[in-house]
């Protein structure tokens, strides 16, 4: 299993680098890989006596590992990911044609497929989190594939921010579970006691993470925005696979945590609201792709209720409907893409009579739409029937009844928008005055039609063979909870569920039929998730801007003033805490040379302050440095002296290079930092640093490490120069840090100068 994911990563890297100029070849390789993955997983996982497990310790101390487990549910999900992925990738070859972004698309697509495979194979929450974030990043890059479009970039950022905020919530949940229960593996959590307050809070955090990924209210708004992505991306990531990650997470965790009423109510209320909200919005769309996006939101709400409730029967229905949704929604998205590709529009107001011109696509999408609407004998009928049957026999809890109401209303809407979608795309509209009808420019190629037909036809085949397919789904559902087995039926017999189902379909069909093609003015709620997101994002940016404008005034005097004042205050407080410390038995100088060096340094320093010219001042400052070098040398520190001399020399040169671009003389007083203030700050910092130095040098309590270093230097590090051995060996890490800082500073200088010069050139060129 690890190898499968690694091969995905390798091929993705290859597609983004070596095969960049040959994206079609890369795409075919990707199709082959996905097909091979499907076969390998089917051989390994289906009917295996022992469930294959792989585990790699990552951070052993924290109990983190990357672990995979190919149980029935994982097999089903990998098959969905790989098989749908292969079809979508094939489809994309003709969809993109000669688009320049195709190479990037192929690489990211394969990377995503690998990440998603890892996610569904994960056997613990930590592994899942890692792949979860990987899918978020891939999704971000794929939504923003057309990076010249501001709208695509904004949508990508929004999707990333919302899903990664959820990722943080998930990580918080994982960390809390790890620390309170001691494990993050699904099996471990199922066996452990998770009724403690911390564990329950962790479960809610995990649930919030699932909600963001699966676009549940109030985080649903990022998904329709994600439709800025090319259609294959929408079909695969934002409908069939990635948005199911939250459902997968809930499927894995709801049998463990759903005993908590907070969890159940959150699932039902948020899932139900999402279902209705998405359905209602879908009904108002005129862009077929956006209609599908909102319908996906709605269907995800349905799945959330089924899977998140933690009731075995509902879980089975949820798993079945997950498959049904992935299949019919992929076909619908790809079909809309084919229509878009052929006619240049997906606006249902501009399309009329397309059914006769694109019969294969129309029939295939018709099957898929019928499955979404829940019509006999499509697969969507069987799964929805199962869901209704389970929810009609609640265990007496109020939460079950509320869930049922939501599901029935939501089902009405899903029939309605299915009808709207199909009629809108392919129906012949009578009143065409004033609207230009779009025509088929060029017939879609096989790669655009065959995937739609095959996946669309699968809804019919699976529906006709509902009982067989239902039997296959036992293993996936039972992987979560042993009791979650069930059956599907093409004709369940006349019962309450069927009556409800037929009523739903009838009402929904009428609503969808009667809904005007041109929807009225859309009234948005005063408080929506989207507005909250925008408010937070704007506030964050605005707040940062304000804080920056206050703290980063751009005045050198202000920066230096703040830095130096802080030093003066901090050290001054330390000195005042123990006044006069360090002056006892202090030897000021050992030799006349030291004394001379010190006096010279003081004279230079006074001259620096007295100088009127910047150049002179800089040169005198060098004098202070050389005086220090004399003192170091006289103290028996030749290394220090040598370095000091060299640093001082180079510093003077650098100073002069900079100063020649500044006025030669110091300016007159600045307005808000008059001379008196500057003198006060200077004196304060000078005095406090001097006193602090004296105090510190007299404050030694422990023996110096110098002796130890001197003894270890030759045997341990093979050097007799202790200073150098300290630099490159004993304290080599410090040196490494310092030279890294040095490198960064040099890069900073280089780029700042280049930027300033470019700005000047541009300004000069414009004048």
């Amino acid at each position: 299993m690890t190898s499968i994911i690694l091969v995905h990563a390798a091929l993705a890297a290859l597609a983004l680098t070596a095969l960049r100029s040959r994206p079609v070849a890369a795409a075919w390789l990707g199709c082959a890989l996905l097909a091979a993955t499907a076969i390998a997983v089917a051989v390994m996982g289906i009917g295996a006596d022992d469930v294959p497990v792989e585990r790699w310790t990552w951070v052993g101390e924290l109990g983190f590992s990357i672990s995979f487990r190919l149980d029935g549910f994982a097999v089903m999900m990998v098959l969905l990911v790989a098989v749908l992925g292969a079809f979508v990738l094939w489809y994309s070859i003709d969809y993109f044609e000669h688009d320049a972004t195709f190479a990037r698309f192929v690489g990211l697509f394969i990377a995503f497929a690998g990440a998603m495979t890892g996610l569904v194979l994960s056997d613990d929450l930590f592994s899942m989190f890692v792949f979860w974030e990987l899918t978020s990043v891939c999704s971000f890059l794929l939504i923003g594939l057309n990076d010249r479009s501001a709208q695509a970039r904004a949508s990508a950022l929004r999707a990333l921010l919302v899903t990664s905020a959820g990722g943080l919530s998930l990580l918080g949940g994982v960390a809390l579970l790890q620390s309170s229960v001691g494990t993050s593996s699904f099996a471990g959590l199922a066996a452990a006691d998770t009724t403690g307050t911390v564990a329950r809070a962790a479960a809610i955090l995990v649930l919030v993470g699932a909600f963001t990924k699966s676009a549940q209210f109030p985080f649903h708004f990022w998904l329709p925005g994600a439709m800025a992505a090319p259609t294959p991306v929408s079909a695969y990531l934002h409908s069939a696979t990635m948005v199911k990650a939250g459902i997968v997470l809930m499927a894995r965790t709801s049998p463990i945590f759903a005993g908590d009423p907070v969890w159940r109510w959150m699932v039902v209320v948020c899932g139900g609201t999402t279902m209705l909200l998405g359905g209602a919005r879908a009904l108002r769309q005129t862009d077929a792709k956006l209609l599908l996006a909102h319908s996906t939101v709605s269907q995800l709400g349905f799945l959330t209720i089924l899977v998140g409730l933690g009731v075995p029967g509902a879980l089975y229905a949820g798993v079945a409907h997950l498959v049904a949704h992935a299949v019919f929604k992929a076909a619908l998205f790809l079909g809309v893409g084919a229509v878009d590709h052929a006619t240049g529009t997906r606006d249902i107001r501009r399309l009329s009579g397309l059914g006769r011109q694109m019969p294969v696509v129309a029939v295939s999408m018709g099957l898929a739409a019928a499955s979404m609407a829940g019509l006999i004998p499509l697969f969507g009928f069987a799964t929805k029937e199962k869901a209704l049957a389970v929810l009609l026999h609640p265990d007496g809890a109020a939460v079950g009844i509320v869930a049922l109401v939501f599901v029935v209303l939501g089902a009405v809407l899903s029939t309605a928008y299915s009808v709207r979608l199909f009629v809108g795309l392919f129906g012949t509209k009578p009143d065409r005055s004033g609207i230009e009808t779009a025509h088929v420019h060029h017939a879609p190629t096989a790669a655009l039609v065959v995937p739609v037909a095959v996946i669309g036809g699968a809804s019919l085949v699976a529906g006709l063979a509902a009982s067989t397919v239902g039997g296959w789904l036992d293993a996936p559902a039972a992987a979560q909870a042993a009791a979650a087995t069930g059956y599907l039926a093409l004709w369940p017999g006349v019962n309450t569920a069927l009556a409800v189902s037929l009523t739903v379909v009838a009402v929904g069909a009428v609503v969808g039929w009667r809904m005007p093609v041109e929807p009225g003015e859309h009234r948005s709620w005063p408080i929506t998730g989207e507005r909250a997101y925008q408010f937070l994002l704007d506030g964050l940016l605005d707040g940062s801007r304000r804080i920056t404008s206050v703290t980063q005034s751009g005045s050198l005097i202000a920066y230096l003033g703040v830095i130096v004042s802080v030093v003066a205050v901090v050290l001054g407080v330390g000195v005042l805490g123990d006044p006069g410390a360090g002056f006892v038995d202090r030897v000021l100088a050992d030799s006349a040379v030291q004394r001379a060096g010190a006096v010279l340094g003081v004279v230079w320093a006074i001259a620096v302050v007295a100088a009127r010219h910047r150049f002179v001042s800089a040169l005198l400052l060098g004098g202070v440095g050389f005086s220090c070098a004399v003192i170091f040398a006289a103290f028996g520190a030749p290394d220090l002296a040598l370095t000091q001399v060299m640093v001082e020399t180079l510093t003077i040169v650098v100073f002069l290079l900079v100063l020649r671009q500044m006025p030669r003389r110091f300016e007159a007083d600045s307005v808000w930092a008059p001379k008196l203030v500057r003198v006060a700050i200077s004196v304060a910092v000078g005095v406090s640093v001097s006193l602090f130095a004296v105090m510190v040098s007299g404050a030694r309590t422990a023996p110096s490490v110098g002796e130890t270093y001197a003894q270890l230097s030759e045997p341990e590090a093979g050097g007799r120069n202790i200073v150098n051995v300290i630099l490159v060996d004993f304290r080599g890490f410090d040196t490494l840090g310092e030279i890294t800082v040095l490198a960064i500073a040099a890069l900073g200088v280089t780029n700042l100068v280049r930027m300033a010069r470019r700005q000047r050139t541009r300004a000069g060129g414009g004048a």
């Binding site: 040598l642 180079l650 290079l657 120069n721 490159v728 200088v749």
Partner: protein, 155 residues
Amino acid sequence: MIGRRSVILDEADRWLVPVILMVSVYVTFRGHNAPGGGFAGGLIAGAAFVLQFLAGRPLRIGRSDVHRPTAIIGAGLALSVCTTLAPLLFGDALLESAIWKIDVPLVGTVKVVSSAFFDLGVYLLVIGVVLAVLVALGADPDDDESSGPMAVEAS
């Protein structure tokens, strides 16, 4: 270039720069046992380039112009980091020094300590930093960045 050319600087540049560079290498390698080391050595070499720069000569190392000092910085940093990490490959602690004694014909036994490579990295990095600063700040401020002896290639 700053100001007019000076004969003294020209001659100093011609004769002193190679000597200073040799001294810098010597100082770097003797650093382990006597005053010196990569940092001081790098600064000395930097001083050589400053002299070259002040004499108005294009910055050169050997026969090639300095185009991208950042590459030298990167090489130095990479060498130091590799020396830091290398002991891990042999199961030792980070920065653990290995000491080799090699018999070189005519010279006798030469002791090589692995940390010399660390110091060499520091040496390169410091040279790169000095060059980067000279290239960045030394160019004529009114010049277009794509012309002049200190032209920097976009990196």
